[in-house]
């Protein structure tokens, strides 16, 4: 498969759109969940599946257990949104959201899902809104994974090219931090490139 190349302009636009999306996400979380935090400037990398596995291993500490929530989004721009949070952060967040000392497992799971909902909705919606397309969100699922082996290479070998958009969020007061990965692949990368081209035409028209 011929690899799709992104120019510096494409990456600049994507980076700028993601900066706006991250700002939106932070504001929404503060508003809806009363959690005040910061999010790092997103990193954008184009890789293959092996590179993605390595990237995740370099980013996520191997010694913790993590709540890993995956949510698919479909439409002209489709992909997978992954939110990774350490079990300690997840408990702290459940604690914050449900205002109880010892949140039940179900409370923690739901808290993580709620946080993922807000992050995915704000970040992806903002991005797609800027690109004038609509997306559909699918039901997210959460699982606890020991270590950082988030990608099953045997099951994910079909992808030639993957865009990784990653950022880190921190809520100092609640002692919470998590990592976000937005992944899109192959045909969707071409679609994203076309949408950015369209955006560039709009900007320079």
């Amino acid at each position: 498969m011929k690899l799709i190349e992104f120019s510096g302009d494409h990456l600049d636009v994507l980076r700028e759109l993601m900066n706006i999306a991250v700002g939106n996400a932070t504001a929404s979380i503060a508003d809806l969940l009363k959690a005040f935090g910061t999010m790092h400037i997103p990193k954008i990398t184009i890789s293959d599946i092996t590179g993605l596995k390595q990237y995740i291993q370099d980013t996520i500490p191997s010694e913790n257990s993590h709540y890993v929530t995956k949510q698919l989004f479909g439409g002209p721009l489709g992909g997978e949104f992954i939110f990774v949070i350490t079990d300690e952060s997840a408990i702290n967040f459940g604690n914050h959201l449900y205002d109880i000392d010892a949140p039940k497992d179900a409370d923690i799971y739901d808290a993580v899902i709620e946080l993922t909902n807000i992050l995915s909705a704000t970040m992806i919606s903002r991005l797609t809104e800027e690109l004038n397309v609509k997306v559909q969100f699918f039901v997210p699922s959460t699982q606890i994974i020991k270590g950082n082996n988030l990608i099953d290479l045997d099951e994910a070998q079909g992808y030639a090219q993957i865009i990784i958009i990653s950022t880190q969020m921190e809520f100092q007061n609640q002692n919470i931090n998590g990592h976000i990965f937005i992944l899109t692949k192959d045909a969707m990368i071409q679609s994203l490139k076309d949408l950015i081209d369209h955006k560039l035409e709009e900007l320079y028209a």
Binding site: L32, L97, Y109, I113, E114, F137, V139, S141
Partner: protein
């Protein structure tokens, strides 16, 4: 209250899942037919009322937060579908399994009319999927428990049994911890070497070849074998070697399990050998004669010879040089005889200065030649005194017993002595 008939509502009623429309304060605006049927609450009884009235046990704080998030972001929010249902309880009528008494719901809260603060809550029955997942989890738990037990058993085996695993070419691929400890090897020291490396050279090549042949025929081999420790200490092992066949019927490896029988062999040796010459004793010779050779002979119709040898003038050696030197003569002669015999022949000390031999697969001429070879070997022995042996040979004929054979050999020996000693006579 009568339902207004309009197309959007007809559509909602036609859906094969539950749909309700509620506002931010949980007041019900629409309750579709699926919910009517499955909850038992009618459209008329629900619309205009708060969910709180009918379902007071829901976590309304969470629900409100999710509704607000939906309205604020104009995007759907979800309950975690992997957990036990946290939304309204809906009875489930499945009779054939009783894991779930209420439906497991997948709940999606979508924006409906945002400026009127209304959302649409869709509930999907995912009970069958959830049941499957719970069953799978239970099975996985059982497998995990079995795995732990298996690991425990494996650990016990590794710590206590002497096991060596080889590939199809008899190269060592795995060695148990107990084997390494018992024989003084490091963890991976034997890996890659041929299996033969651990066997002492006392194991006859024919035995090793027989073992390989049996295993290559995909049959189990068992027997006694001597193994050398790293410090070259020889230890006798009872061995069972099993070929492993994979699911395609192809040989994949061999597993050898050893059991230390060194003490048993030592006792056996004490019971069956003469302590001075280390040759078989009379008891062992009788055993071999009765059980093995006679039976084999009748089976094959082959012939064999019995030979008795006596040291000439041994009394004189004892009298002239003392019993200690006499014993020395016995030991040296025993060594020479053992070295000179063919593989498969049996030699024992018959008593005093007498030795006895079983020579299988011989005729009269061959038996005499063997005895003559033994006589010459002893004659050439360089000792503090010249020693010679006289031999009496008897050849098995139909109807012979051990007694008749022995009598003839004894008579032949007597004849050899009569004829001047240092001779071989056949009768």
């Amino acid at each position: 209250m009568t339902k207004p008939v309009d197309y959007p509502n007809i559509l909602l009623d036609a859906l094969e899942h539950g749909v309700m429309i509620v506002d931010e304060e949980f007041n019900v605006v629409y309750w579709n037919q699926w919910l009517e049927i499955n909850t038992g609450h009618t459209y008329a009884s629900m619309v205009g009322k708060s969910l709180l009235t009918f379902y007071p046990d829901i976590d309304y704080r969470t629900l409100q937060r999710k509704i607000r998030t939906t309205l604020r972001l104009n995007s759907p929010t979800f309950y975690d579908a992997s957990l036990n249902n946290r939304f309204i309880p809906i009875p489930r009528n499945k009779i054939t399994s009783s894991v779930l008494n209420t439906m497991q719901l997948q709940v999606t809260i979508s924006p409906y009319v945002v400026d009127q603060r209304m959302v649409m809550i869709a509930v999907y029955d995912i009970s069958d999927l959830h049941e499957l997942k719970l069953t799978l989890q239970q099975q996985m738990k059982k497998i995990a428990q079995l795995n732990v037990e298996l690991q425990h058993d494996k650990q016990i085996i590794d710590d206590n049994l002497l096991i060596v695993k080889t590939d199809g070419e008899f190269h060592i691929i795995e060695v148990s911890k107990a084997f390494n400890v018992f024989f003084g090897f490091e963890e991976n020291e034997l890996i890659g070497w041929p299996l033969q490396i651990i066997y002492s050279d006392k194991t006859p090549l024919s035995e090793y070849t027989h073992m390989k042949k049996t295993l290559q025929d995909l049959e189990r081999w068992s027997g006694e074998i001597e193994i050398l420790s790293k410090q070259s200490k020889a230890l006798w092992m009872d061995a069972v070697v099993t070929p492993w066949i994979d699911h395609l019927g192809v040989l994949s490896s061999y597993t050898a399990i050893y059991h230390d029988i060194t003490d048993k062999k030592r006792l056996e040796l004490l019971a069956t050998t003469d302590p001075l010459t280390k040759l078989y004793n009379r008891y062992r010779f009788d055993e071999i004669f009765d059980v093995t050779l006679m039976r084999e002979h009748w089976k094959t119709g082959d012939s064999f010879a019995l030979v008795i040898a006596d040291i000439d003038h041994f009394k004189h050696i004892n009298d002239a040089y003392g019993h200690q030197r006499g014993d020395e003569v016995l030991v040296r002669i025993a060594e020479v005889l053992r070295r000179t015999l063919r593989e498969g022949d049996t030699l024992a000390r018959w008593g005093g200065e007498e030795f006895i031999f079983l020579l299988p697969h011989v005729d009269a001429l061959r038996a005499i030649l063997v005895a003559e070879k033994l006589r010459v070997a002893v004659e050439k022995l360089s000792l503090f005194v010249n020693v010679q042996l006289s031999f009496g040979v008897s050849l098995f004929v139909a109807g012979d017993t051990q007694e008749t054979l022995l009598n003839r050999a004894d008579t032949a020996l007597y004849k050899a002595k009569e004829n001047g000693r240092n001779k071989v006579e056949l009768l």
